[in-house]
């Protein structure tokens, strides 16, 4: 609470505020904005659902530099977090950015397989915002823009892995490991550095990029150090990604392709605590209807794990697989349809994993009472067609319906 008051106080002490203004381009601008969101509802197991979140965004902008702080306070969990704390310097066609932030890679709209700079955050399950499901990372980013191309170079002095949710509704730990003593390695040292680059260019209506990244699998592998009581040491697998992203506009359709080969440090796939090398691929066809601004996208996402072993049930690749298979195929369907001059927006997203027969359905209806105030109704359903175990199946009781409102000021 003290921290929240401190943030509010610092905002009040700021100078009179300006908006970013092309007519005042020589003057630095300072922008403070708040977002408040409150929601309530029910889970399928009749537990009450509440969410109260206050976010503040502070920006200082100048032609040559920029500083951004995005902070949020979740009253339901009494948790305050930074979504971004960054400083940028603009010199010629170069942009230097450093701090804690997310930087997107990948060309598709609904999902990504090469967006590797930030780990996943599934503490609230699947939500209809890909950026909200990311964990910001400390990194240094150098971007350079040419006429029809650009280069990103990134260095991370250590890394933040995916949030390891060990208990509660969205636990990612199998029930057998629920009581285990888990030892996590320190991933924020220089020994856990990550680095990479991306080159993007436009060829007519084709935009494409080539990527290289030397980093870590964001989900942990593990080795069992004691069976009674159960104790595990987590280990993160270093890999090199050789990837590409592309999107081709053939009006009114856009075809996006992403793919990559993740070359694991466990090259021959013999270490059961580390993830093996794999291919990951995604194809997405999207369509925008001009008259209504309706958006429709159908995507296929898959992966294939090399040297996959079904004989060792403790192998992390086997444990993380769907239905014990080396491959995984997932279909995604996303629809967005605005009504009433974009005042009312309906959204629906369906994910279906072929191997586990698991699915997740996210639906939402939001209505803008005013430009800075909207109300929403959201429904989420997890489940599986059959009896195969999967994340979708284990989150089956997390089906929920919530109603809330969001204000910007």
């Amino acid at each position: 609470m003290k921290r929240l008051l401190l943030v509010l106080l610092s905002c009040l002490l700021l100078m009179p505020l300006f908006g970013f203004d092309l007519f005042l381009e020589e003057e630095p601008s300072r922008i403070t904005s708040f977002t408040a969101e409150a929601a309530g509802g029910f889970y399928r197991d009749e537990q009450f659902l509440t969410r109260t979140k206050l976010s503040v965004a502070l920006e200082q902008n100048h032609q040559r530099y920029g500083a951004t702080a995005h902070l949020s306070y979740d009253a339901s969990t009494n948790r305050m977090e930074a979504g971004e704390l960054s400083v940028s310097l603009f010199v010629g066609n170069l942009t230097f950015k450093g701090g804690l932030f997310t930087h997107p890679w990948g060309s598709a709209s609904t999902s990504h397989v090469v967006d590797v700079l930030s780990a996943r955050d599934l503490r609230e399950g699947f939500v209809d915002d890909l950026e909200a499901m990311k964990r910001p990372s400390a990194m240094l980013l150098l971007s350079s823009y040419m006429k029809r191309s650009s280069v990103d170079l990134v260095f991370k002095p250590g890394f933040l892995p995916s949030h390891l949710v060990t208990e509660g509704r969205y636990s990612l730990i199998p029930p057998a490991f629920a009581s285990a003593t888990i030892t996590e390695p320190d991933t924020m040292g220089l020994g856990s550095w990550e680095a990479g680059g991306r080159y993007r260019t436009s060829l007519g209506k084709l935009d494409m990029g080539l990527l290289y990244f030397n980093g870590h699998h964001p989900d942990p592998g593990f080795s069992i150090t004691s069976y009674v009581p159960l104790a595990v040491d987590l280990a993160y697998t270093r890999y090199q990604l050789f990837g590409l992203e592309s999107s081709l506009l053939f009006d009114p359709f856009t075809l996006a392709l992403e793919g990559g080969f993740f070359l694991s440090e466990d090259k021959d796939g013999t270490d059961s605590s580390l993830y093996n090398s794999r291919f990951a691929y995604l194809a997405e066809l999207s369509y925008t209807q001009a008259e209504s601004s309706a958006f429709l996208a159908l995507a296929y996402q898959g992966r294939y794990i090399l040297d996959f072993s079904t004989t060792n049930p403790a192998d992390v690749d086997y444990l993380a697989s769907y239905d014990g298979k080396a491959y995984e195929n997932t279909l995604l369907l996303v629809v967005e349809y605005p009504f009433l001059q974009q005042r009312l927006t309906t959204r629906a997203a369906l994910t279906y994993n072929l191997e586990s027969e698991g699915y997740a359905v996210l639906t939402s209806l939001s209505y803008a009472i005013e430009d800075n105030l909207s109300v929403f109704l959201k429904g989420t359903v997890y489940g599986a067609v059959g009896t195969k175990s999967s994340l979708y199946k284990s989150w089956d009781d997390n089906d929920s319906l919530q109603v809330g409102m969001k204000a910007w000021f």
Binding site: F23, T95, Y145, Q341
Partner: protein
Amino acid sequence: MKYTITTLLLLLLATSFAWAAMPADQVMAKVMEVQTSDTSALDLKLTLIEPNGQMRERRIQTLSQTKGGLTSSLTVFLSPENVRNTRFLSIEQEGGTTEQWIYLPALKRSRRIGSSEEGGSFMGSDFSYADMASTTYDEKEAEHLLLDEDQNSWRIQSTPFEQKTYGKTITVVQKATYLPLRVEFYDLDGNTLVKTLVTEETGTVGGKPITKILTMKTEASGHATRLEMLQARFDAPLSSGYFTLKFLETGRL
């Protein structure tokens, strides 16, 4: 002899049609000329007006630059807060095609958009993206026909050669300034009135006549959008760096 008379009559008729069509072409060319400048910077307020009178406001700034007959434009959304810093870049290419990108700050990504989306609503307003670029056609884009005129204005029907969004428009042009005072937009069938644009206030900036306030109304819904020019600069030096993917994605020159 019969054939000669018929030929002469046809020639006379054709000549009279051509004479009648000339002023309309010239007027619409002049309308476009008056609205064209090498560079422009506009600060605009969009007010969305519901049939029950309820209003919502948006602020945008638009920069444009014409070089070698090719126009590039950049639009930055300043408010409301949930769309602030959304940027839209349009670059006209040789051969008549236009490349367009939109940068969405919430996604931190830029996305290429197709020209078919030109007909889509601009920020939930009654203007389409194409309307924001221009509400009239030049002599190369449409066939213009003078319907009637009075002391102050011409009334001209324009039928676009390539019918993307509208089947025809009828424009009332002020003789003194060559500014459109009223534009009626008809559906592709050429008969159904879809939208009406009315100029509410005109003025001058550096001697250049401009439309300061105009309102576009969608006939079927009764919804309307008022567009008000808060600041304007024409033919002032403007960096080409605004019309690049770098500015689109970083907001910096």
